[in-house]
């Protein structure tokens, strides 16, 4: 896990450094300047040092818990990430939980009612959800639930109190869930359709087991592997959607921070975020792998085999 994340930070560092121009030009924003000032800023940020020295310096700092200061905001990168990480995790977890909590039951219902109006309705909803552009959903929900109905605030993350955070982050969380929910519904429906046609389901029913146990205990459990795979991919993919949702709802999260950092070639912030996002992706995949084994005991990760 650690080597993968470090490789990512190295790759991103090299790619960022290869971009012509960069941090100092971005900081100057087209304003009058002098060669002395440019040279000073270049030296101040260590950009005049060889690439390997720059990377090693960052790496050494990282192991000490120091990710440096942002070129743009002068803030410690660890502080910047710390302030924003909670919001982004909240949005992503909420998006995934809602998507699974609503998508799985509806997918099961659709599969159990194959060909019915209900099935067609659920399939329609899943297609609409998974194909709706995020910007449309975000603006529409904002207009409907925040402006017209007044149920939610229009912008901001609220105060530090849990209640305030809940109120401000619920609507963005729902927006995050819409597209993944459609995908989860589709995957669940397809997977359940495969399972309920299996012989073991017919045998279970013939043995007189309760329908609930047949469907949830056997059918859904066996259908969970592709759902877990989809959920893992969605959890990683949600990070991309966060950028847009944070922008529309005016939330100070990692997505907004990453966009600003890339625009301004703010290397310490880009590196810090690569570390966080890399860890995020690796951990998400690890959790999915563990869940596979939990759901299906036949799956093992025995090193001796």
């Amino acid at each position: 896990m650690v080597p993968i994340v470090l490789f990512m930070t190295l790759a991103v560092f090299l790619l960022s450094s290869l971009v012509p121009g960069g941090a100092v030009a971005a900081l100057l924003e087209g304003r009058p300047t002098s060669s002395a000032q440019i040279e000073f800023l270049t030296a101040k940020y260590g950009l005049d040092r060889p690439l390997h020295e720059q990377y090693l310096s960052w790496l050494t700092g990282m192991f000490r818990g120091d990710l440096g200061r942002s070129f743009r905001t002068s803030q410690l990168v660890t502080d910047m990430v710390g302030e924003r990480l909670g919001i982004t995790i909240w949005l992503n977890v909420m998006g995934l939980v809602l998507a699974v909590a609503i998508g799985v039951p509806l997918g099961v219902v659709a599969a159990l009612n194959r060909g019915s109006r209900l099935d067609r309705f659920v399939v329609g909803v899943s297609i609409f959800g998974s194909s709706s552009p995020a910007f449309f959903v975000a603006i529409f929900f904002l207009w409907l639930f925040a402006q017209n109905l007044g149920w939610f605030p229009l912008y901001g993350a609220g105060g530090p109190a849990l209640w305030s955070r809940l109120w401000h982050l619920t609507l963005p969380g729902i927006v995050m869930a819409v597209a993944p929910m459609g995908l989860i519904m589709k995957v669940t429906r397809a997977s359940m359709l495969d399972e309920i046609d299996q012989d073991y389901v017919a045998f279970s029913r013939a043995r007189g087991l309760r329908e609930r146990r047949v469907i949830l205990g056997y059918g859904l459990r066996n259908a969970l592997i592709p759902i877990l795979t989809a959920a893992g991919l969605i959890f990683v993919g949600l990070l991309t959607g966060t950028v847009f949702v944070e922008r529309v709802f005016g939330l100070p999260g990692l997505g907004n921070m990453l966009v600003q950092a890339v625009i301004t070639s703010d290397l310490p912030v880009i590196q810090g975020l690569t570390l966080i996002i890399g860890t995020w992706i690796v951990v998400a995949n690890l959790i999915v792998d563990i869940m596979y084994a939990v759901v299906d005991p036949r799956i093992t990760y025995d090193k001796t085999k």
Partner: protein, 533 residues
């Protein structure tokens, strides 16, 4: 059995949704409670977070200077009526063309209760020239050779006369800093780690980057209290969300009204235009083939439909430009007749595709050519303008490929001054209302080198002479006259295609008004210009 399953699953799904609905209903009441403090509170949306609240690490913008102008004080302020007014200085005079003396008021204190001393003022003017600090405002203070104190006076000595200097004390680069606080916390100054201490009418209560800045009234401020007890600047980057927030009354105003959505904004708010002298145009590398041929440059100018760009993309908030400085820049300095005469002498090539083709026919590329324009992807105005140009230039056989790039690397290309700068889209505004500033940046040969802004590479000794004289003239009228003459002479060579001049566009709550205000006075307590009713 299936129906039972369905009902159970439906109940489960509803259980997930219902708590959210109940949460939302409770939240509405909270909004109402907050709304009760409207008369004393100002909620002013900004599209981006200020990088820092410290001028040396931040460039001028309505957002940064608008907020910082409430926290820090200046020796002088620039009023919305275009007048210089004493603020932290009780009086000032130019005792010689290169010497300025400011008498600092004795009753001013910083928001922490410590007095503002002449040493703090002197430090604030010396500070930017320290080569070890890398202040981004350093270019404003290049001419300063000494800053001394004498009693309650601060005396600033310049290396040579500078036509811009009288405005500099109003600029955000000349905010008065508390020396001991800055020196002790330089690396983190103006960040949430070290909130700034100023002597302005407000002090910072909270700064959460990318979220909001909250200010409260400074009870120790020496002057008249401004109209609001508290001010909050929420960061709302999305244009549509900002519009919805304005429509729903959650914000009282904003610095950021997109020109393309002006009609929508006009329906929900009072629109305020603040003269800002913003210039947008295209520079043409005069040493780069085929742009080294004046017929090619004229052809491109003729093929640029400036009026349509202004009407179609900027909804009446801009006017077609004919040079770098708009005529308003000369108001009160030169007579109307003189300004009219000067602008009449500019070489202007109005949109005419036939004449564009005729010019191109006289060049070595009579059938046109292909080129790339690098466009900063963060500037919608730059994207709009270059797309419009791409369309009309294509009609004379000039195929333009637009290459969207991040702003930093794109500007680095200009700073590098490589051999083929081609056509560059530029947007800029002078830091102070001095008509010599932009012409110097874009027409002086010293700027046609590495780290300079003159991306057309115009190198003309006559124009240099005019600009040098304009910058050092002590008579404002003489300086303005020389600057205008330099622009007239440059226009004959078509180093740039001027596209438009635009203003800042603000919005305030329907029923309120705002003004007088201009681009420079934004950085000096802009809230005083807001008139809530």
């Amino acid at each position: 059995m299936k129906q039972v399953m369905f009902r159970r699953l439906l109940v489960l799904a509803l259980l997930c949704v219902l708590p959210l609905v109940s949460l939302s209903a409770a939240g509405r009441a909270e909004t109402g409670d907050d709304g009760g403090e409207e008369s004393l509170h100002l909620e002013w949306a900004v599209s981006t977070s200020p990088d820092t609240l410290f001028a040396p690490t931040y460039f001028n913008s309505p957002i940064g200077s608008g907020i910082m102008g409430l926290i820090y004080d200046n020796l002088l302020v620039y009023t919305g009526d275009n007048e210089l007014q004493e603020s932290l200085a009780v009086s000032w005079e130019a005792t010689s063309p290169t010497t300025y003396r400011y008498t600092v008021r004795e009753d001013a204190v910083f928001s922490d209760g410590t007095p503002v001393t002449v040493e703090d003022v002197a430090f604030s003017f010396r500070f930017h020239n320290d080569p070890n600090l890398g202040s981004r405002q350093a270019f404003l203070f290049e001419d300063v050779v000494s800053v001394t104190t004498e009693g309650n006076d601060v005396i600033i000595e310049l290396a040579e006369p500078d036509s811009s200097w009288k405005f500099i004390p109003t600029h955000m680069g000349a905010y008065i800093l508390k020396q001991s606080h800055v020196e002790a916390n330089f690396d983190s100054y103006g960040t949430p780690e070290t909130l700034p201490i100023g002597s302005g009418p407000y002090m910072v209560e909270e700064f959460v980057p990318d979220s909001h800045v909250s200010l409260v009234r400074n009870p120790r401020y020496w002057g008249d209290p401004p109209p609001f007890d508290t001010i909050r600047f929420p960061v709302i980057p999305d244009d549509q969300t900002r519009l919805l927030a304005m429509r729903s009354g959650e914000i009282d105003g904003t610095f950021n009204v997109p020109p393309g959505a002006l009609q929508q904004w006009d329906q929900v708010a009072e629109i305020v235009q603040a003269t800002a002298f913003i210039f947008r145009g295209l520079t043409i590398d005069m040493e780069d083939d085929p742009f080294d041929n004046i017929h090619v440059r004229r052809a491109l100018y003729y093929a640029t439909d400036r009026e349509s760009i202004v009407a179609g993309l900027f909804a009446g908030t801009a006017v077609a430009a004919t040079t770098l400085d708009p005529p308003e820049m000369f108001e009160g300095v030169l007579s109307d007749a003189e300004v009219e005469q000067g602008y009449g002498d500019l070489a202007v090539f109005e949109f005419d595709l036939d004449r564009a083709r005729q010019e191109l026919a006289q060049s070595k590329v009579p059938n046109g050519f292909s080129m790339t324009i690098n466009v900063p992807d963060g500037s919608q105005a730059a994207i709009d303008i270059t797309q419009a140009v791409q369309e009309t230039w294509g009609q004379i056989g000039v195929d333009v490929d637009l290459n969207l790039m991040p702003g930093g690397p794109r500007f680095q290309l200009i700073l590098d001054h490589g051999p083929s700068l081609g056509v560059q889209i530029i947007g800029n505004l002078p830091d102070v209302p001095d008509p010599a500033i932009l012409p110097y940046q874009y027409y002086h040969s010293s700027q046609a080198a590495r780290n300079g802004n003159n991306s057309s590479k115009l190198k003309d000794p006559d124009i240099d002479e005019l600009l040098d004289a304009a910058l050092t003239a002590t008579d404002p009228a003489e300086s303005a006259r020389l600057s205008l003459q330099a622009q007239i002479e440059a226009s004959q060579q078509v180093p740039i295609i001027p596209v438009l001049w635009s203003d800042f566009i603000f919005a305030v709550r329907d029923g309120w008004s705002m003004g007088p205000i201009n681009g420079s006075s934004v950085s000096n307590t802009f809230v005083r210009a807001i008139n809530p009713r």
